[in-house]
């Protein structure tokens, strides 16, 4: 028997009062323990979807279940299972991080003494304990984002949803946040993440869905989806200058990025050795090479771009 999904969304629609149809019958299932990426361009419907799951947005039709609990029929029980890290900072800047965490746990019915114990634990894990009793507005952008993760963990949710948690933070802090999220997931919490940093999704997540214009256009394991990507792109740094006439190599696309850099797009089935040999014959010597784009980014652009073209 299959376990009860951590999140089960069926035929979810949302039409705003302005007439904008943000979700056009989205269905999605996330399994318990998964680390799941929800990707999509701006305005695709990600935040509306998360808003409905967290009960901040009212659905026009469809159903959402969190570990089998329908949020329309039993909102209170469903919300006890859910933790949310929103895109925008939404704590009171005039309060202290310690109080923000204790109050948040209190809203979920966690007794004060227990809330204080958890607040210290979560603030230490987020490396914010030294800031626990300073006003929250004095925190840096990265600290504010870590504080929101710590806050969501105060209620020990079984499903944690993060809406672009690392937006605008530097790479060092981002990696620190990845470490925390991996720990949380390893401890058994199902994590759903939206992000614009596709390498983040590729690094952290096992499954993903891509949403575009209110519809799920791709959904499945990360590895399966990436294997659909049949071409790879590289940038080759050349010794000297490129010839005016580039060689024709069957099955690959070559063009000059500048006089010293060659842009190469090749089928994944093809070997680089074949290409290097033919370039060598044409007098082009490759000094170094780098991947042109992140693989997931390539897939994302192809999927969302092809839809736009259609």
């Amino acid at each position: 028997m299959n376990p009860i999904p951590a999140l089960e969304i069926r035929e979810l629609r949302k039409v705003y009062a302005t007439g904008v149809e943000a979700l056009k019958g989205v269905s999605l299932s996330v399994q318990p323990g998964d680390f799941f990426a929800l990707l999509g361009p701006n305005g695709a419907g990600k935040s509306t979807l998360i808003g409905i799951v967290s009960s901040l947005v009212n659905a026009s039709s469809g159903s959402v279940q969190v570990f089998g609990v329908d949020i329309a029929k039993n909102r209170e029980a469903a919300m006890r299972l859910l933790g949310l890290v929103p895109q925008e900072v939404n704590f009171n800047f005039f309060e202290k991080p310690f109080d923000i965490l204790c109050n948040y746990a209190g809203f979920y019915g966690v007794a004060r003494a227990e809330a204080k114990r958890r607040a210290e634990e979560e603030l230490r894990r987020a490396q914010l304990w030294e800031k626990a009793f300073t006003t929250a507005r004095t925190l840096s952008g990265g600290m504010k984002r870590r504080l929101m993760i710590a806050r969501a963990m105060m209620t020990q949710p079984r499903l944690l949803i993060l809406d672009e948690p690392t937006a605008g933070v530097d790479i060092e802090i981002r990696r620190g946040m990845w470490r925390i999220l991996r720990e949380v997931n390893a401890a058994g919490t199902t994590v759903i993440l939206t992000t614009h940093y596709l390498e983040e999704a590729e690094s952290l997540c096992r499954n993903l869905a891509i949403i575009d214009r209110g519809e799920i256009i791709e959904n499945g394991p990360m590895k399966t989806l990436l294997s659909k990507l049949d071409v790879e792109g590289f940038l080759l740094d050349i010794d000297g200058e490129l010839p005016a006439q580039l060689p024709h190599i069957e099955g690959i696309a070559l063009h000059a990025e500048d006089r010293h850099t060659l842009d190469l797009e090749m089928p994944r089935a093809m070997h680089l050795n074949q290409i290097f040999a033919q370039l060598d014959e044409a007098g082009i010597r490759v000094r170094s090479m780098r991947t042109k784009t992140n693989r997931l980014e390539e897939l994302f652009v192809r999927l969302t771009g092809s839809k736009e073209a259609a």
Binding site: S55, L56, V89, D99, Y104, G106, A111, R151
Partner: protein
């Protein structure tokens, strides 16, 4: 206190009281200064020339009205600014995504606002004691009036904050509705002094009943019956509570 909803209720109330005490210079000091000036100018300087009002010195007469005025204004102001601030700063979302039922959210904010009203009422009453001898012939009626009056205007302030889209919207109701109703609610005069049409209109003002119920508690004297005053106050509490809960259920101004 182990039931999750009671913990949540206590959490919101504690947060509100912490806020009131943190910004005491904005929440507790201004009413103390304003009411001291009222007592000094209206009660002491002008009042000594007015003579008796309803059988009491003018100072004695205005004390209940001024205390009630402070309670009403501060209860209303507390919840409208705090709840709208939470909407504006988006930290209201912390509560909206939580499993708290709507009555806990409303109850917590109202409890915080009522406590501020009570605190300010005690401060103003303490200041009044510097100017006159305050008696308390009906302590239960006095306390019940303060609690009901503060609850009514906390609920009204909450409804205002739910509909408010900008800070100006929070200020419009106190300026154009609450202040005129308070001043025309018999704080500074007895309704017996008014012509018939004005007296009839005053009886349509809910603050008039609160001021008179409180005056009865302190002076054993009122222009209206206590049954009518308490019946009306309870009616307002029920109607405003139901409307506030309905607004939260529908998510008006809160959920999209």
């Amino acid at each position: 206190m182990s039931h999750p909803n009671l913990v949540a209720l206590a959490t919101i109330t504690r947060r509100e009281v912490t806020r009131i005490l943190r910004i005491w210079a904005q929440t507790l000091v201004p009413p103390a200064i304003t009411m001291t000036l009222y007592f000094l100018i209206f009660g002491n300087l002008i009042g000594s020339r007015i003579g008796d009002m309803g059988g009491y010195t003018y100072m004695d007469f205005i004390v209940p009205g001024l205390v009630m005025m402070a309670v009403i204004q501060n209860s209303y102001g507390n919840i409208s600014s705090s709840f709208f601030g939470a909407k504006f700063g988006r930290h209201i979302e912390e509560m909206l995504v939580s499993p708290m039922p709507n009555w806990v959210i409303l109850g917590g904010y109202v409890a915080g606002a009522v406590l501020r009203g009570l605190l300010v009422g005690i401060i103003v009453l303490g200041i009044a004691m510097l100017f006159t001898r305050v008696r308390l012939p009906h302590p239960f009626i006095t306390l019940a009036t303060v609690l009901l009056g503060a609850t009514i205007f906390s609920l009204a302030g909450f409804i205002n904050a739910v509909f408010a889209k900008k800070f100006d919207d929070v200020a419009i109701v106190p300026t154009f509705i609450l202040t005129p109703l308070t001043y025309l609610g018999g704080v500074f005069y007895s309704v017996d002094l008014l012509p018939q049409w004005a007296s009839t209109m005053t009886h349509a003002n809910p603050i008039f009943y609160m001021v008179n119920a409180f005056r009865y508690g302190l002076l054993n004297d009122s222009d209206v019956s206590m049954t009518l005053a308490f019946g009306l106050m309870l009616g307002f509490v029920v109607v405003f509570s139901a409307f506030g809960l309905w607004l939260l259920k529908r998510g008006v101004g809160l959920r999209s």
